[in-house]
């Protein structure tokens, strides 16, 4: 790639758009929408070179590092970079934005200019958070995201919007303030220098410090994800937000939390990760089952989808905490899937809301007859959300569960797998009640099928649903090296902390020391063999388990149990 600061361009293009919008006349709605759409589309196009120029090596690319603030001992740098983990999240953001802007093309009629400015500022924050490698910069973007979203919910939302907006804001703020404290503490632990995450990766923190810092970071991210007991802001925010708000919230904002775990919480505090794994796994599983059960009895379509988000994100969290190649890759993929499918679901809910101004399931029924195209798209998206093989949902979910099953989270994984059943129950029941049955409500008799704009919004998503389901290789392959790095990083530190020889670090074996199903030989026997191996550091490579004779083979010689 040339020396073009692509990431900066990407981050600030929407900002330029927002500034341009400031100078637009207030009442020319068409031009305002057009400009906003154009800007977001250009941003998307500008993000394409990230894929083409991406070099799947695992390191950070497109790096920009400029000293920024030097206030006495504090140094913050404008440090951007991107790896396989953030690549697709950036693309997802730039991809979802034009769709989100199109989605409320006609629904938002008031303060259009301000609305579009908010959306574009939101995009700045989102892209910025994904590319920032300086923790301080990350924090700034993290907060930048919050404000436009607050306004989007609070100004253009539904009836109960103020409550929802304030709840969203305060919930998130509580977490991020704790994160700020931990971030500063981390900085002091690291000694003089800048806030670069790369520098923090090298730290060896004692377990107690790790615990506290992890808790602070984890809380901030857990609220954003959201994980089980901290999830109640989500249904409210989703229900009250305008369609574009819901779409962005679901597709990108929630990913900030999980991304935070992958990028910060786990590699920075691996011991704490190991320590809190059972807790997080339990919360994730509770989240999956609980949210599914609650989703089942919802009467409001949008709320149902919101709760389904909680369940889906529970899967993502499980995958990430499995901390092996499949789990993390599955989790990452599931993030993208959730962005696509749930984003699409919110768009769909938006479509019928625009037509009927209600989201109550009981107000519908039999729409399939009146709106066949809508029904087809809705169905595809529903099945993607359920995780039907061939659609995107399956690949992610499968890898997550497989990864979790291979780690020491096995018991949790088994319960989580039951989420597969529950998701089918609530989604299909909702689909049935909305789309099937008699077209009894007279208000539904004259519903129009999707118009060209709406179909144009949905087609890319539907195509993506199938592409990611049938050929997920490009996604997985680009992520793999970065994920390997991340895992190796975390495991190496865990191993150091536990005095386990590096040879035992094998992502496939899950957390070291966790007993596999019927692995007859104790881990201790494997250890000397591993130490004897000449290339101990390379054994940390997650691929070590596949072809040759890696240390894990030691138990293979043991007799079978019958």
């Amino acid at each position: 790639m040339s020396q073009l600061p692509l990431l900066s361009i990407l981050t600030f293009l929407p900002l330029i758009g927002a500034i341009l919008l400031l100078f637009m006349p207030k009442n020319s709605h068409g031009a305002i929408r057009g400009l906003a759409l154009a800007v977001s589309a250009v941003t998307f196009v500008a993000s394409i070179p990230l894929i083409t120029g991406f070099n799947p090596t695992g390191g950070f690319q497109f790096v920009e590092n400029v000293p920024w603030i030097a206030a006495g001992p504090f140094q913050m740098s404008y440090h951007l970079g991107m790896d396989g983990i953030s690549l697709w999240l950036i693309i997802l953001t730039t991809f979802i934005m034009p769709i989100a802007i199109l989605s409320t093309w006609t629904a938002v009629e008031e303060k259009v200019k301000e609305y579009m400015i908010c959306l574009l500022l939101l995009e700045v924050g989102m892209i910025g958070s994904f590319v920032a490698l300086d923790l301080f910069l990350f924090y700034i973007y993290w907060e930048v995201m919050l404000i436009p979203m607050y306004f989007i919910i609070g100004i253009w939302g539904g009836k109960n919007r103020i409550y929802a907006a304030v709840k969203f804001f305060i919930y998130t703020m509580v977490g991020s303030l704790l994160m700020l404290v931990a971030l500063i503490a981390l900085y002091f632990k690291a000694g003089a220098g800048d806030f670069s995450i790369l520098r923090f990766y090298e730290l060896n923190l004692d377990p107690v410090t790790q615990t506290w810092m992890f808790l602070a970071f984890a809380l901030a991210f857990a609220i954003k994800v959201p994980m089980f007991p901290l999830h109640t802001w989500l249904p409210d925010a989703h229900t009250e937000a305008p369609t574009a708000g819901s779409v962005i919230l679901a597709a990108v904002l929630l990913k900030m939390g999980t991304y935070g775990y992958v990028r910060f919480a786990i590699p920075l505090f691996p011991d704490a990760q190991a320590k809190f794994m059972p807790l997080i796994a339990t919360l994730s599983v509770i989240g999956i089952v609980y949210a599914s059960l609650v989703a089942m009895v919802q009467q409001d379509v949008k709320k149902l989808v919101a709760y389904s988000s909680v369940a889906h994100l529970g899967f993502v969290m499980m995958g990430i905490f499995a901390l092996n190649q499949q789990g993390v890759a599955g989790g990452m993929l599931q993030m993208l899937n959730h962005g696509v499918s749930t984003g699409a679901l919110f768009l769909i809910v938006g479509f019928i809301y625009e037509r009927r101004h209600t989201r109550m399931i009981s107000d519908f029924g039999g729409l399939a007859k009146q709106m066949p195209i809508f029904a087809t798209i809705f169905m595809i998206v529903t099945f993607s959300s359920i995780g039907l093989p061939g659609t995107n949902g399956f690949v992610g979910e499968f890898l997550v569960l497989l990864g979790a099953f291979e780690s020491s989270m096995r018991p949790w994984a088994i319960i989580a797998t039951s989420g597969v059943i529950l998701s089918a129950v609530y989604m299909l029941w909702m689909f049935q009640r909305v789309m099937f049955g008699e077209l009894s409500n007279p208000k539904n008799q004259n519903l129009k099928d999707l118009n060209a704009r709406e179909i144009a919004i949905m087609i890319p998503l539907v195509v993506l649903i199938f592409v990611m389901g049938v050929y997920p290789r490009p996604f997985l392959d680009t992520m793999a090296p970065s994920i390997d790095n991340m895992i190796a990083q975390a495991k190496k530190k865990q191993a150091v902390a536990m005095n386990v020889p590096a040879g035992m670090i094998n992502p496939h074996a899950g957390i070291p020391g966790a007993p596999p199903i019927t692995m007859p030989a104790p881990a201790g026997e494997a250890a000397p063999a591993a130490q004897a191996a000449p290339a101990v550091p390379t054994a940390a490579n997650p691929h070590a388990g596949i072809p040759g004779a890696p240390p894990i083979e030691a138990p293979a010689a043991a007799p079978e149990n019958k």
Partner: protein
């Protein structure tokens, strides 16, 4: 030809795309139906080519994997989009495409004039596509696409008349039940994959790879867990206890769908899957016992319900459940070949039966429509004497019924007899063998009874239709009867490829072609049983004896049916009034649906309600809003400090300064 195996699923997929995207524009039923049917016929032709090529190879070379592209690769996990050709998959391909094409053809006639004609054929093609993926997938993941895909299509097709609530419910039920099975499938897959990977460094979900390393699969222990998990998957898909309840409800779909999905193909997926993994199952006697017991129990249980149903399709549905139970009984006895053999013959005669019932319903529907009657065209109590008006349907139906009843010479006899013999003679279950056989034989008798009850009530006796309706009753058109005839011929003759050894020798050395054909697939299991010293009973006398008994039981069943429904039609009513509770229980399917509702569905809903209203809103949001309320309360008190008078602010400011300075001064 092997290289082109990917064409087999591709053709129906093309059909899906064409009909799905443009079907609404095409409008012409002949074109839509033609495209869909041609797609399946195309697959059938390719499948034939593959079968012939396969047959031309020596046994041990009958194995081919065609990898199209790598689907998922992540760490050690790798799943290719790959197709496997071996005798088993070739047979299944033939059955699916063969029966599938006939049903497509039939559907053109049956679905004539339906709203959403194109939708129907899109779904049907999609179903065929999924089923073909299922049976030709070279690894568990590709199989799982098909596995879930058929579940999806069955959801769509059962819910085809979506404006009916019952149809939507049935579709949902089918999908969810299947999902419960999928849960098991996934767990089994995870366990097997992980166990083999961690302990033997065989990270694979590929059938060929697994078979190659079959020696590493331990006996019992983990294998039992794996097998039971997979079996849960199979019970979901193949409608076994405890997950069978969706299948009878699935009769809400159009009749050809019932024939295709719920008789010939989809429900056999479980049988196929277990056979595909026979080298795993053979290692776990416990799992085999469970499979056999569940199979036998289902066979008997469903048969009892079948005896009391009046809806023609429901009888057939329970019969399907029961016959699937037979197949699992065979699998559980380690007779994988016999299970698949019954699968094949069952596909022929059950498809024939369903299509025949479709023909009857079609005719009844028109007849009743003509007199504007709202009577149920599927209720056998409205039929009777139809053989006069619908001779072809009657004849084909009768042949299929004889086949399912197990009358010697017809397809069902050979397969069912083989299963019963294996149940008796297998080396796995010791004393339980006799029980299994006895249950199987009883179920066979019941099968003969309720099937002939169906035939007698429908085709014999005097009609219970009104004059006008009777007048409007006609034999179905040729697109409907042609598939019937083909299937009837297959039900009559299809069994002769697998003649039991004793019978073959008695008849002058007829070979058991089927057994020979399946050998490569089951090679490992056979060898394993051999080395492990597991030998079944060998006694020609016993075999002859059992054969005789089973034929006798079948004949008894027919005789009882004839006695009750032709000779003395008053007896059933008398019986019903004597044992009303029993009849009610059987008629209401032993209240299993109600029990499930009580045990799972309602508690789940109640729990959901509680968690939402009780926990989410009250506890979690209560805490959140409570914190806010506490702050608000405090500020409510504190706000009184803000009097709004400038002086007060000035005072407090100066006071503040004084205090601060004082702190500094007097510390």
């Amino acid at each position: 030809m092997f290289e082109y195996v990917w064409l087999i699923p591709l053709f129906p997929l093309i059909g899906v795309v064409i009909n799905g995207l443009f079907g609404k524009k095409i409008k012409n039923e002949a074109v839509i139906g033609g495209i869909a049917t041609l797609a399946v016929v195309g697959s059938f032709v390719v499948a034939c080519g593959i079968l012939f090529q396969l047959l031309s190879l020596p046994g041990e070379e009958r194995h081919f994997v065609k990898t199209v592209f790598t689907w998922i690769q992540c760490g050690p996990f790798k799943a290719d989009m790959a197709f496997l050709i071996d005798p088993l998959s070739a047979l299944m391909l033939m059955v699916v495409t063969g029966v599938g094409s006939l049903i497509h053809l039939y559907s053109i006639g049956y679905m004539h004039g339906e709203e959403g004609f194109y939708r129907y054929f899109t779904y049907l093609n999609l179903f065929t596509f999924s089923m073909l993926l299922l049976v030709s997938g070279a690894n568990m993941l590709v199989m799982f696409i098909g596995w879930e895909g058929v579940g999806l299509c069955s959801y769509l097709l059962i819910g085809y008349y979506f404006h009916k609530k019952s149809a939507g419910d049935a579709g949902k039920k089918a999908f969810v039940m299947n999902r419960v099975g999928d849960f098991g499938f996934l767990l089994g897959l995870f366990t097997l994959f992980y166990y083999m990977g961690v302990n033997h460094n065989v990270w694979t979900v590929d059938f060929t790879e697994l078979a190659k390393h079959a020696d590493l699969i331990p006996v019992g222990g983990v294998t039992t867990v794996v097998c039971l998990c997979f079996f849960l998957g199979a019970t979901g898909k193949s409608a076994q206890i405890p997950l069978y309840t969706w299948l009878p409800d699935a009769m809400e779909g159009p009749t050809p769908v019932s024939a295709l999905i719920h008789a010939a193909t989809m429900v056999t997926a479980g049988v196929y899957m277990i056979t595909r993994m026979n080298y795993v199952y053979i290692k776990s006697p416990t799992a085999l016992l469970v499979v056999a017991c569940v199979g036998a129990a289902t066979a008997l249980f469903a048969a009892t319900i079948g005896t009391a149903q009046n809806d023609i399709k429901r009888v057939l549905a329970y019969s399907t459940v029961s016959q699937l139970g037979y197949m699992f009984l065979a699998l559980g006895c380690g007779a994988f070949g016999a299970g698949v053999f019954h699968l094949m013959t069952h596909a022929f005669f059950k498809a024939c039966l369903f299509l025949g019932s479709g023909s009857v319903i079609h005719a009844m529907h028109h007849a009743l429509h003509a007199e504007h009657s709202s009577a149920d065209p599927q209720d056998m109590r409205n039929m009777g004497g139809l053989r006069k008006k619908m001779p072809i349907t009657f004849l084909t139906f009768l042949i299929a019924t004889i086949a399912i009843a197990g009358i010697p010479g017809f397809a069902g006899f050979f397969s069912k007899d083989e299963i019963l013999w294996q149940a008796y003679a297998n080396p796995f279950h010791g004393p339980v063998n006799f029980v299994l056989w006895a249950v199987g034989a009883t179920a066979a008798g019941l099968t003969a009874f309720y099937m002939f009850r169906l035939v007698f009530m429908t085709f014999f006796g005097e009609t219970r239709l009104s004059e006008k309706a009777w007048h409007h009753l006609h034999e179905s058109p040729i697109v409907i009867t042609l598939p019937l005839m083909v299937l009837a011929a297959l039900s009559a003759l299809g069994g002769w490829i697998g003649v039991p050894k004793v019978l073959g020798e008695a008849l002058g050395g007829l070979p058991n072609m089927y057994e020979h054909y399946m050998e490569p697939v089951l090679a490992y299991s056979t060898e394993y049983m051999h080395t492990a010293g597991l030998h079944g009973l060998h006694s020609e006398a016993a075999e002859w004896g059992l054969m005789g008994v089973s034929v006798l039981i079948a004949c008894c069943g027919i005789a009882v049916a004839a006695a009750l429904y032709v000779v003395k039609p008053t007896i059933p009513a008398a019986f019903t009034s004597t044992f009303p509770a029993l009849h009610r229980a059987v008629y209401n399917k032993w209240y299993v649906d109600e029990i499930y509702d009580f045990l799972f569905v309602n508690p789940c809903k109640a729990l959901g309600q509680f968690l939402w209203k009780g926990f989410d809103v009250v506890v979690v949001d209560g805490i959140v809003n409570g914190v806010a309320a506490v702050f608000r309360g405090f500020s409510g008190i504190l706000r009184h400090v803000q009097t709004g008078f400038v002086h007060n602010y000035a005072y407090s400011m100066v006071l503040g300064v004084v205090v601060i300075v004082a702190c500094y001064l007097f510390r």
